[in-house]
Structures are given as C-alpha cells and as structure tokens.
C-alpha cells in the first residue's frame, strides 16, 4: 500500500510538472527562433538559429520591465530568440547566469554591469568561448576592459549633473536625493552628479521598490522633519510616484523630479506634479544590444567605433509629455 502510494505521488508530481511546463512554456519566446522563414520582417539570420542572452541586475520593477520589452521586441523583429533574466542585484547570481549562458553556447550576451568586478571572470569565459558581449545600462567606464564591443546606456554622473542643474534653475535651494537600492553604484553616481550640478544635496536611503508604502512614509517623514527641503530627486519611476504622494502628504511645496519614466510618471508630469523626468530610454537599452549582437553574429558588424552608444539623458517635461504618454502606457517608454 505504501509502495503504491509513493509511486502514485511521484507520478502525480511528474504529471503536474509536465502540465505546468506546457502551460507556461507556451507564452514565451522559446519557439521564436524556430524557423526564420516563417517570421515576417527583415530576414537577417540567413537560416541560422540565433539566441541572445540578456542578463540584467533588475528586480522586476517597472523600469526593467520596459527594458525587457525592448529586448523581446528586438528579438521578435530580428527573428532571434531572446532569453531575458534578472539577478535582483545579486552579483554572484549574475555571474552564475552568465556562466549558464556560456554553457548554452548562446550567440551573444548583453549584460548590465553595476559591479564589473563580479562578472569579469564569467565574461572572460564568454569571450574565450567566442561569445560577443555588449554591456547596457551600467558599466560605462569598464565595458572595454570587460571585453564588450560597446556599451548602450547613459552616463550616470553626467545625467545626474544635468538633473541637478535643471532643479537649480527652477529655483530650488536644498535637494533630497532618494536612493532606493542600497548597493547600486550607478544610483550613487547620479546623486553625486546631482550634487555637482545643484550644490546642497542630502542623500536618503529608502526601503525600495519592494515596499513602496514604507518608502513613501520614509520620504514623508524626512520632508516633515526638514522643512528646508524644496526639491526631491528620485532615481526610479515607482519611487517617483511615492515621492509625489509623500510631498502631498507632508504638505510640502517641494518640486519632484525623477530619473526614468513610467506611465504614471508621465501622467504626473502632465498634471504638473512632477517637474521633469530624466529619460535614459531603457527600451533602447534592451532593444539595441540585441540588434547589435545579432548583426555582429550574422554580418560581422561592430557598432560604436570603440565608444559607448548613448541613450540619454533625454528630458520629458510638460511640453513633450503628451507624446510620450501614450507610449509609456504601452510599456515601451
């Protein structure tokens, strides 16, 4: 009786997994690279199956969701398979994901490099296996040394400086810079840049995108305890929305500006609740590396000429918000 039950249970587990796989396996790009001839648009693959691995340090928030869409759209349009994965800011996991991409012998690896030291070894192995690399979003200073063809992104310190300057021009005297990811070097660079461009900047650490409610409370209490703050700069669209609510809740007159866009941020800009958003156009950061790597593979093209390909800073203000709004709703801006 016991034997039978144990056997039935094992069988049930296997069946369960198989069903699960069938259900989930359907709605992804697994079959995207199957037969290029059956896809419309430009046929660049020349009959070859191309797989590009995109490995970022994201945590599933709205910023990275746009980048992911960019990568997946590029895959569909180029007729290649895109495998997108995120390491949730864990450098060891990112290294392990790169290792597994090398095991799979993918045709190209696009990585964000917030911590270049951590992934250097794994990228070396990729290069040794003949897999081309493009860095995106972070790692602008290190991409050449990491062996990447080019870097697609925005220089954080310069963008930060620009944002700081704009807020200074708007008349603010004291700026609160909100850092939401404790170990992200890029975010720190933005705030450092803002300090250069603005002057009196105070950084504050908040819980992050996993707990927006607490983040809101943290910003609000900061505003209430320090009434001299008249400008808030956030570094993520979800945090920006929380900051806007916090400013309202604290009864403050502080101007809110942010890095990076989302549908809600654009709406807030249209409503005048957020001054401007520094847009690094992360859709391009997902889209372009896929294109570059595919062209490298199929047409031996190298893009960039040894320089990074800049996707920002672009500024979204009340003037151009309407145009951008619709696109942000669709998740591509």
């Amino acid at each position: 009786m016991t034997r039978l039950r144990a056997g039935l249970l094992a069988l049930a587990m296997v069946l369960g997994l198989a069903l699960f796989a069938a259900a989930c396996g359907g709605d992804d790009d697994n079959d995207g690279g199957g037969s290029p001839a059956s896809k419309d648009n430009v046929d660049l693959t020349q009959g070859k199956d191309v797989t590009i691995a995109v490995i970022t340090h994201g945590s599933g928030d709205s910023f990275w969701a746009v980048a992911k869409k960019g990568a997946e759209d590029a895959g569909k349009q180029m007729g290649v398979t895109v495998k997108y994965s995120e390491s949730a800011n864990d450098p060891q996991k990112q290294a392990q994901l790169i290792d597994s991409a090398v095991t799979e012998k993918v045709d190209g690896i696009a990585v964000s490099a917030p911590n270049p030291d951590a992934i250097r070894d794994s990228l070396k192995k990729a290069t040794a296996a003949g897999i081309p690399i493009v860095t995106l979003n972070s790692g602008a200073e290190d991409y050449q040394e990491l062996g990447a063809i080019t870097h697609v992104g925005q220089t954080e310190s310069i963008a930060g400086e620009g944002a700081g300057q704009k807020l200074k021009e708007a008349g603010a005297k004291k700026l609160l810079c909100v850092i939401h990811e404790q170990s992200n070097i890029g975010l720190n660079q933005r705030c450092d840049g803002a300090k250069k461009g603005f002057g009196a900047v105070e950084n504050v650490q908040v819980k992050g995108v996993d707990d927006i409610q607490t983040t809101l409370t943290e910003i609000q209490s900061k505003l209430q305890s320090d009434k001299s703050i008249d400008a808030v700069l956030t570094l993520n669209p979800d945090i920006a929305v929380a900051a806007r609510d916090a400013v309202k809740g604290a009864g403050s007159n502080a101007k809110v500006a942010t890095f990076d866009l989302s549908g809600d941020v654009v709406k807030a800009i249209q409503a005048g609740e957020i001054e401007f958003a520094v847009d690094q156009q992360q859709y391009l950061q997902g889209y372009l590396p896929v294109v570059f790597l595919t062209l490298y593979k199929t047409n031996a093209n190298t893009v960039g000429g040894g320089q990074p390909v800049l996707t920002g800073p672009g500024y979204v203000t009340k003037d151009n918000a309407d145009t951008v709004a619709k696109l942000a709703e669709e998740g591509t801006r």
Binding site: M13, L17, A21, C24, D28, N30, P91, Q92, D121
Partner: protein, 363 residues
C-alpha cells in the same frame, strides 16, 4: 550491571509477596518492518523525490541541463546554498533559528575585503581573523539566546538588522561607495582562491565550493548519526528539559550550533568575496529564508528534534536545479518564483505524506 540483592537476574525469580513479573510480551502491534518502509520513513524522502523529478524533468526538456557544463552550473548555485543549508539544518534540529545567517555571509565578506584592501592585511591572516570574528558572533548569538530565554527567531532577527545596518554604514564610511573592491590585488589572493573559490576540470568548470559542500554535508551527517554530539543535538531540539535532566549540556550544545552557522557563513562569505574579487554591501540579505526552506524541504521540523543534513543538501540542490533549469528552458522568468514555490511546497507535502504513511498511526 549490578545484580539485584536477592532478586536474581531473571524476571521470573521474584521474591515472595511481590506481584509476579511478566514474561516478555512480543507486542503484536509491532509488525515486522520491511527495509522499504524504513527507507520511506527517513526525513530525506521528499527532497530526494523532488530532486529526482526536477532533475529528470530539466534533463529531458533542455539541451544543456544534462551536459557536464550544465551540471557545473547548477551545482555551483546549489553549493553555497548547500553549505549554509546544512549548518542551518543542524541548528534547526537543535531547536533554534538563525536569521542572521544570510547577512553574515555579507558581513564576513566585507570584513575580509576591508581588512585586505583598507587595513593592510594579506589574504590568509585576514581569513583567519574573519573566521575568528564569525565564531565570536556565533557565540554571542547563542549566549544571548540562552541568557535571555527569548526565542532565537527574535534574537537573531535583531542581529540581522544590526549587521544589515553595519554592512552598509561601515562600507560607505570607509570606502565612500557601497562595495569593497580590489581583492584581486591583495597578496595571497591566488593561493586563497585555489583553496576556496577556483574551478576545476577545465572546459566544464566545476566550482571548489561543490567539494566543500559535499565534505561538509558528509561530516554533518556523520556527526548527527554516529556521535555523542549528534545525539545531544537531537535531544536538545526534541526536548531541552529532558536532555538537561539527564545531564546533556544544553547551553554548550546550542552555543556550538550558533557558532557553526556563523562560521559556515564566514566560509561562504569568503568564497564569494574571492570569486567576485569584490563584496557588495547588500550581500546575503534575504537568503536566510532560502536556507531554512532548503532545510525544511530536506525534512527538518520547524519545531526541532528531527531532520537531516543530506535532506537539507538535497533541498539546496532543488533550488539550484530549478534556478538554472528555468534559465535553460527559456521560460518567462517572471514565473520563476512561482515555479520555485510550487516545487518546494510539493516536496514538503510529499515528505509529510510519505512519512506518515510509513510510520502508521502516530500519537
């Protein structure tokens, strides 16, 4: 064995006036136990089944999972998890939790990094200091749990917050950034890497941490099954009062277990720091629950007194296989956590079901 005075050695020779002693009664309720049922009673059953099913599943459904390089990938992920899962399992069997285990991998890594890149230590002395530091932290954790008599959940949660703050605060104060880098240039880095973090078997690149993991799991299993200390660990977790009453040094056992988890965290922290040649301030935060889950999947009871180091290792293996397996399958990674959760739940359920059936009616 002392012979009773006038009582004789056999139960039958009872002195006059006393009630007659019974003949040994074979308990008819104790049916003969077959080997199969005895195996099914073991705490590792659920995790073994889960591991086999998942392995078979990904092996058959992907090209890379079953290749040597693929195996190197998922054993890599499983190994650092596994070392911690084994240590945490030992502690759970002893009836306690250590919620600071995850953040300690960061603290110890950061300490190693700061000692070597900021304060002039070379690698090996820094490693010794790091282990000593971890032993001290473990001792303090254990001592506080014993002295305050508060649940270890609470005490180690406090430790967790303390270290989470220190990790970020000290790193920022000393380096002005949120990570410690440059370990690659420290004297002793190469030799230390050869021991802790390098790879072997060239094109496939299996990590040394896998070897460490297997050895540690083997030692832990042997300690639990065959040594006095192991017996004491089960007793202290099952009923600390009963253990104390027969003379088991409960406090010493628990403190030793806390020191074990802390030092295991130091080992893992060192491994990661050497591998990445850098340490991020947020390292390890959140992992403590993965260790506990791996231990529970492996058969450890949350209430203590029962469990298995092999089971915890299998639990860690399941997590590692799932992580890389999903990668290889190209599934939408948004579903990754859902999948992991379902697998772990199934493994725990199977554990319970099979064991209950195998044991028959239990009080």
């Amino acid at each position: 064995m002392t012979e009773a005075i006038g009582g004789g050695s056999s139960a039958a020779a009872a002195p006059a006036g006393a009630p007659p002693t019974p003949e040994p009664v074979a308990d008819e309720r104790l049916a003969n136990i077959s080997l199969w049922v005895r195996l099914l009673r073991r705490p590792e059953v659920g995790s073994l089944l889960g591991a086999l099913v998942i392995c078979a599943f990904f092996w058959l459904n992907t090209d890379s999972f079953g290749t040597l390089s693929g195996i190197a990938n998922w054993t890599d992920v499983a190994s650092t998890l596994g070392i911690m899962a084994v240590a945490v399992a030992l502690l759970m069997i002893g009836g306690e939790f250590d919620l600071s285990a995850g953040v300690m991998t960061g603290t110890t890594g950061l300490l190693l990094g700061l000692l070597t890149t900021e304060w002039g230590f070379s690698m090996w002395p820094a490693i010794v200091v790091t282990f000593a530091f971890a032993a001290l932290v473990g001792f303090i954790n254990g001592y506080m749990v014993i002295k305050t008599k508060l649940p270890s959940f609470i005490v180690t949660l406090a430790t967790f917050f303390v270290f989470q703050g220190l990790n970020l605060g000290v790193t920022k104060a000393v380096t002005d950034t949120v990570r410690v880098a440059g370990l690659g240039d420290v004297p002793g880095y190469d030799s230390a890497s050869k021991v802790f973090s390098n790879t072997f078997w060239s094109p496939h690149n299996f990590r040394l941490s896998v070897v460490w993991w297997i050895v540690i799991a083997a030692i832990a299993t042997w300690v639990l099954a065959r040594t006095r200390a192991g017996n004491w660990i089960f007793a202290v977790g099952g009923d600390a009062n009963a253990a104390r009453n027969v003379g088991v040094p409960v406090a010493r056992v628990k403190i030793a277990l806390f020191m074990t988890t802390a030092m295991a965290a130091a080992l893992v922290g060192i491994m990661i720091a050497l591998r990445l040649a850098s340490v991020q301030a947020g390292q390890g935060v959140g992992e403590e629950f993965t260790y506990i889950i791996a231990a529970v999947v492996g058969g450890c009871l949350l209430t203590g007194g029962y469990g298995s180091a092999i089971g915890a290792s299998l639990g860690a293996l399941i997590v590692g296989m799932a992580f890389i397996g999903i990668q290889f399958s190209g599934w939408n990674t948004d579903w990754r956590f859902l999948f992991l959760g379902v697998i772990l739940l199934l493994a725990v359920l199977v554990n319970n079901l099979v064991r209950h059936r195998a044991e028959g009616a239990r009080r």
